[in-house]
Symmetry: C3
Subunit: 134 residues, 3 copies
């Protein structure tokens, strides 16, 4: 199984588009199969989202409604409300698969693969890509 580990700079962003890196890895396989994307982190998830039309900001903002950054969390360290970041991967899983046709991601027109990272204290994240050949 071809596999690659990349570093992604998420910086202060909650949403980081990684479609380009995923597409390049799939293209290098030049085969039909399934791309598996994985984040080995406990405070980030992966999503398929339209980017660049407001939905990335919408998701980033709505995370605070779904997982309020207040003092309800038992897990307390780092930034205020950081306990919310540790619950995020239960709702937005760090594991995702996408079909690949002859090395090309079979994404819909408006789908991008994004890292959702509420934890601005970790500006660099690891992305693990694996390819299951047909």
């Amino acid at each position: 199984m071809p596999s690659q580990q990349l570093e992604v700079t998420t910086g202060q962003r909650r949403i980081t588009d990684v479609t380009g890196a995923c597409a390049a890895f799939a293209a290098a396989q030049a085969a039909d199969g399934l791309l598996h994307v994985f984040l080995p982190h406990a405070t980030a998830g992966l999503a398929l989202l339209e980017t660049g039309a407001g939905s990335d900001d919408d998701l980033a903002a709505h995370l605070d409604a779904l997982l309020p950054r207040d003092d309800r969390w038992r897990h307390r360290h780092g930034s205020p409300g950081h306990g919310a970041d540790h619950v995020l991967p239960a709702l937005i899983s760090p594991s995702l698969s996408v079909p690949v046709d002859a090395g090309q991601l079979a994404l819909g027109t408006w789908q991008s693969i994004v890292v959702v990272d509420a934890n601005v204290d970790n500006p660099i994240r690891t992305l693990r890509l694996s390819f299951l050949r047909a």
Copy 2:
């Protein structure tokens, strides 16, 4: 990797059961493996749910509590509150895998595979099925 693309009529329904189509595709493979189900759409997701006992209506209704259809969203076009539809795939992913035993989906007694589609403006959706043979 055997693969099939289907059109699913979701119409005005938020929840559409696609277990039958998935089971037929798996049966045609007549092998052990993993079924991967994928939606190439930015405003729909896939879920494993009990259908026919109220939970499909419960999920459909509760989406409005989780992702209110009001004017909070930056992404604005189409129906009022449509920005909510674009955040849905972050919570309900359009990518799902199910084990297959000798061509039979290894679902639990009460599990059905459903398309969750909050966007009633797109009554026809594409479903992409892939089979990873053991």
Copy 3:
């Protein structure tokens, strides 16, 4: 495809760590590949979470905020608010994949695989593990 079905005692717990069972199954494969974890149940999901530092309790408690156990649900049987349990798998999917390197789960330092089970009426759950060899 090597595959194993296990019984997991969740008892009254909402969060049950199953990383050990998953790691043992992967180790028995002694190969590179992808571990697929699946629950054949309609009221439970799987998550990757840091355990033992409060986040398991945080998630368990926050489920009541995301899916209130009140009388809003059409699906009514068993404990009060049980309809909420049937919506849970739409938000926390019972299907999850993790990369495996030479029989070792490629989890991040703080990631554990947990069963999220809001339904305390079913104290024993089935866990289905499958291995896709590279």
